[in-house]
């Protein structure tokens, strides 16, 4: 057991060692680099993704390891915050230990410098001036002041020291920058989501992962309305309101209630001629029970509304559930019986089809579709508005889905009007477009009738019989079964074509014909197909009352070709119907970010200090000069020394200039006066 006296001596020394360690430069630099390296992780590994994605990426073993290391949310990981905290402590200790000295040195002129320590300076010069001290001193003082130095003198009996310095505010730079780091980290901690994480790990709150209306979210996923800092988002459709925000956390969210209600009165978006959004803004109405009446405010990107410490930002826009009138035309049936659907974006519609029940998930509506048009004659790009479109997903019973994008109005392509519909199986791939020719009335009718006619096997057989009657009369006498074979072949070809397009026929040829005859057989098949389809088309035109006896018009001929192309791609198109948009009521929604960050002003104060400090440190140069003066027998012994704090190289130049100026002033060496 040590004596009490010994322990009181030992205690401060242990604290001293700890302080020494915490304040050491090696630790500080190690920590700086550690934070830097740890920060890299979060930029390499995508943060806060659903865990499922990580399992797929790394496999179960590494997923587990990375999870334990909290690599999926590095910046709120315990160990990362620990390093940050350690850096803050280390910086604070540095300030605690060094700031008093630094601050003192701003006012301290060091007039007690001893002869030996002055002689130890790299920049120094000694003279014996053949003049009395009273003549020398004013020159020293004048020179120092001329160059911006402040001067303090002290009499040490046998000698006097005139100490000068300038730029001592440089030292304040040290205090400012280091205090700024501590201040910024504290402010950041206030605004960070550490308390949230703590509550979550202690089970007080639970992340909701289901996509359900806020009213059904259980209480464990609701945060307090008093929550001092958060950053969430909410999407509000025109004409509706919300008094909450959602906080994204990993693969789920939490609900943050607000003490006021935000109503979206109107949302406006403007476009550039290129179709890119130029600006978007929301007219908000804030309903606060504490206010006598609600007030209105318009926010736009880069122009938020700040109310009661809550900042409301315009972040994004979306469809707000536009009402859509859709006419579904069957594409695979012989009956042309459309089915009308009245629904809205974000709604699901059940449809029956020859392929079993399907769900039509309406996902989006766009009022404008401006796309570039490559034009040969004009310089630069042209842009064209393709009009309204809507997107939907068609999901079958197995859960597999295709996505479709249908334009409302026909679009001009090389002089023809086409209805266009895009299809893709995954969001990663681009849409492939089906082009359906529009008839003279800009409607789908003729194409759909033609398509339905092709699927009417009775009618196709009838027509095939009529077509073959004339040419086969001779042959059928000898081999009646041959004509029947040709007719069946025709019907079969049309069937193949309507189901799988030209590809299906090609496939059949590849299967059945020997390789060297394939081209030949294919050509023959196509010719037969062309003939029978042509007959069907002519019948359709006749039904429309079109007189094609002088020859088919170019438009009608092209329509025929375009129709065949369209029908041929229907197999890849995949949908059993064509969804035509017949009417809509556009409703928009505004995506708002809502944030509360009470630490913000603290952080900004830190930032201001940091900026000021950095410039003080690098651009205010702290220099000191000393003149040690001693009189002996009418002569003056003068020692001139100086040092530039952290700018030795430049100071050495300055010192050389000052020294020669001093020699001139004191007449030590007779040189011509310095250049003006």
């Amino acid at each position: 057991m040590s004596s009490p006296a010994a322990s009181t001596r030992a205690a401060p020394s242990r604290a001293h060692i700890l302080l020494e360690f915490l304040g050491s430069m090696n630790l500080a630099i190690t920590l700086l680099m550690a934070v830097a390296v740890a920060s890299v992780i979060g930029t390499v590994l995508k943060q806060n993704e659903p865990y499922q994605n990580y399992i797929i990426k790394f496999g179960p073993f590494w997923f587990e390891v990375f999870e334990k290391l909290a690599l999926y949310d590095v910046y709120s990981a315990g160990w990362f915050l620990f390093i940050l905290g350690f850096l803050v402590v280390s910086t604070s200790v540095c300030i605690y230990r060094n700031a008093p000295t630094m601050l003192r040195s701003i006012t301290h002129f060091r007039t007690h410098a001893g002869l030996n320590s002055l002689r130890a300076f790299h920049n120094r010069q000694e003279w014996v001036v053949p003049r009395p001290e009273a003549e020398v001193t004013p020159q020293l003082a004048a020179m120092a002041r001329t160059h911006g130095y402040r001067l303090r003198s002290q009499d040490h009996g046998d000698h006097r020291i005139h100490a000068a310095m300038k730029g001592s505010w440089n030292r304040l730079g040290y205090v400012f920058t280091h205090a700024a780091i501590v201040i910024i980290c504290i402010g950041g901690l206030v605004d960070g989501n550490v308390p949230l994480k703590l509550k979550e790990s202690s089970g007080q709150i639970q992340v909701e992962t289901r996509d359900i209306p806020a009213s059904q979210v259980p209480a464990e996923s609701w945060l307090s309305v008093k929550n001092p800092s958060f950053r969430g988002s909410v999407t509000i459709a025109e004409g509706t309101s919300a008094n909450l925000a959602f906080l994204q956390l990993r693969d789920g969210y939490l609900v943050q209630p607000l003490p006021f209600r935000i109503e979206l009165k109107d949302f406006r978006i403007e476009h550039y001629f290129t179709g890119q959004p130029k600006s978007f803004e929301s007219d908000l109405v804030i309903h606060d029970p504490e206010l006598e009446e609600p007030f209105e405010s318009t926010i736009a990107v880069n122009h938020p509304l700040i109310y009661k410490g809550y900042a409301i930002y315009q972040a994004s826009f979306n469809d707000g559930g536009s009402k859509l009138n859709i006419r579904a035309w069957p594409l695979l049936a012989r009956e042309l019986q459309p089915h009308d659907i009245e629904s809205a974006v974000f709604q699901d519609v059940k449809v029956t089809s020859p392929r079993g029940p399907l769900t039509m998930e309406l996902t989006d509506f766009k009022l404008y579709n401006v796309n570039p048009v490559e034009d040969d004659d004009a310089s630069g790009k042209q842009f064209r508005n393709y009009g309204p479109s809507f997107t939907y997903k068609l999901r079958d019973e197995t859960g597999a889905a295709r996505e479709y994008e249908n334009y409302m109005s026909p679009v001009e392509f090389e002089g023809r009007s086409m209805f266009i519909s895009g299809v893709r199986t995954t969001p990663a791939e681009p849409f492939r477009y089906l082009h359906i020719p529009a008839d003279g009335k800009y409607s789908l009718e003729r194409f759909l009738k033609f398509n339905a006619l092709l699927r009417d096997q009775e009618r196709v057989r009838q027509l095939a019989e009529e077509t073959t009657r004339g040419s086969f009369d001779q042959l059928t006498l000898e081999r009646p079964e041959l004509r029947q074979e040709v007719i069946e072949n025709m019907v079969h070809l049309v069937g193949l074509f309507t189901q799988g397009g030209v590809d299906a026929i090609l496939e059949q040829v590849n299967r059945s014909a020997p390789e060297e005859r394939r081209t030949q057989v294919m050509d023959a098949y196509l010719k037969v197909l062309q003939t029978i389809l042509g007959e069907l088309y002519l019948e359709l035109l006749a039904g429309e009352g079109i007189d094609f006896s002088p020859g088919m018009s170019e438009t009608d001929a092209r329509f025929f070709d375009d129709s065949l192309n369209a029908i041929s791609s229907l197999g890849h198109y995949g949908a059993p119907f064509f969804a035509q948009l017949t009417g809509f009521e556009h409703l928009q929604a505004s995506g708002l970010q809502i944030a509360r960050a009470p630490g913000k002003n603290v952080v900004y104060l830190g930032c201001a200090l940091l900026t000021l400090g950095v410039f003080l440190m690098f651009y205010v140069r702290h220099s000191r000069l000393w003149f040690r003066v001693e009189e002996k027998d009418g002569h003056t012994r003068l020692l001139f020394a100086g040092t530039g704090h952290r700018h030795e190289r430049d100071f050495a130049e300055e010192f050389t200039r000052l020294r020669s100026e001093l020699e001139q002033r004191l007449g030590i060496v007779d040189r011509p006066a310095p250049r003006p």
Binding site: L32, A36, S39, P213, T274, H303, A315, T611, Y619
Partner: protein, 392 residues
């Protein structure tokens, strides 16, 4: 002695800063102020109150720059004259870029940038020739080329600024908003910082190294322009339409320029440190102490501006989407770069490290900076992960 005490004293009076200004300095200030007023009076509809403040601030900054670093005056005047010529050739028709002789071959932004690119590459070759031959004349040619390239680069940006308004009155923006434009800015700023040190220390031996990194940037720029058509003017997304861009981006690129410069001086240092003492190479390469000092100064300047830029970026982020810091890759890489150079400065200033390790460190710093600027490729995007609700 024949001179009196009084006369001697007068000889040493350091004249006040104002008295050192020449008549050209005052004409310079008057011209810059006139330009500022012209912009203020003629383009008020294009500026909000912050932008007017930025205009006033840049007017003062430009005057001060010209007073403190005299060559900046001639450079600015040349840029203004050539840019105004280019703008006047355009009138209001962007299509003239292909028809007008001067625009097509000289002063349309694309042509000016091509001139800049060619001149920087030629200057690189000339600086190397100067380094290897020791010829003073070649060195002067190299400097002249660098000055001309910088002039043309600035003209390119100025004319492009006007071109953005010719694309559409609502399209116009300051051309520091995409990767193509900021690479031009990077080349110019790196060159300007270099030219400052070249004048300050009266040596052209560093030029070959510094211009190498500018040539690399030019190489990227040309690839990006020819292969990707990056020089085409695209309207700004709403998030980028902010006065913050006018201060954040240039401040950032002063930082990048300085860091790149210091990295190249690091390369020069490593080579100079290995050269046999007394050999021709050792004599022609810049002095080790000088390299070390300029490397430090450049990092200090870069660090100061990078700090400022990162803070401005955080302020902008807070205004654009509600959080001054979100640990997104862009911000995080800015922090990493900042921490790296903070550690570098601590090592040098408090631990007194010098020489080879610091040179290596400065070079490695360039890579972290590349990562950082790479992260900024897509600039600001406002893709918040918004959960949709049927509100209420």
């Amino acid at each position: 002695m024949s001179v009196t005490q009084q006369q001697m004293m007068q000889g040493f009076e350091k004249p006040s800063f104002w008295k050192t200004l020449s008549w050209f300095d005052w004409i310079w200030a008057a011209l810059v102020i006139a330009g500022g007023i012209y912009a203020y009076r003629n383009l008020p509809h294009l500026m909000d109150v912050y932008e007017i403040a930025i205009l006033a601030g840049s007017t003062l900054a430009l005057i001060t720059l010209g007073w403190r670093w005299k060559p900046a005056r001639a450079l600015s005047l040349a840029v203004v004259i050539i840019s105004l010529f280019g703008i006047s050739r355009y009138g209001t028709d962007l299509g003239l870029a292909e028809q007008d002789f001067f625009l097509r071959f000289l002063v349309s932004s694309q042509s000016a940038v091509m001139w800049m690119s060619a001149l920087y590459v030629m200057a690189t070759v000339a600086y190397f020739a100067h380094l290897l031959s020791g010829s003073d004349f070649v060195g002067k040619v190299a400097s002249a080329m660098t000055w001309s390239a910088t002039t043309m680069g600035l003209v390119g940006l100025m004319v492009r600024w006007r071109e953005t308004y010719l694309v559409g009155a609502d399209v116009g923006y300051i051309p520091v908003s995409n990767l193509y434009e900021v690479f031009i800015l990077f080349s110019i700023i790196t060159a300007l910082v270099y030219l400052y040190y070249e004048g300050r220390y009266r040596t052209r031996a560093m030029g070959a190294f510094v211009l190498l990194v500018i040539s690399a940037a030019v190489g990227f720029l040309l690839w990006y322009s020819f292969d990707r058509g990056a020089h085409e003017i695209q309207p700004l997304v709403p998030a980028l339409q902010s006065y913050w861009m006018k201060i954040h981006v240039p401040a950032n690129f002063v930082g990048y320029g300085c860091f790149a410069l210091s990295a190249m001086l690091g390369v020069a240092y490593l080579i100079a440190a290995r050269a046999r003492p007394g050999s021709t190479l050792a004599r022609r390469l810049p002095d080790l102490d000088l390299l070390d000092d300029v490397m430090y100064k450049s990092i200090a300047l870069g660090f100061a501006f990078f700090t400022l830029a990162t803070i401005l970026g955080a302020l902008w982020a807070a205004e654009a989407w509600g959080g001054y810091w979100s640990w997104d890759p862009k911000e995080t890489w800015a922090l990493i770069v900042w921490l790296n150079y903070a550690a570098w400065l601590h090592m040098r200033l408090t631990k007194g490290w010098r020489g080879v390790p610091m040179a290596w460190w400065a070079i490695i710093g360039l890579f972290s900076q590349d990562m950082d600027s790479g992260m900024r490729r897509n600039d600001v995007d406002l893709s918040g992960n918004v959960i949709l609700i049927s509100a209420g």
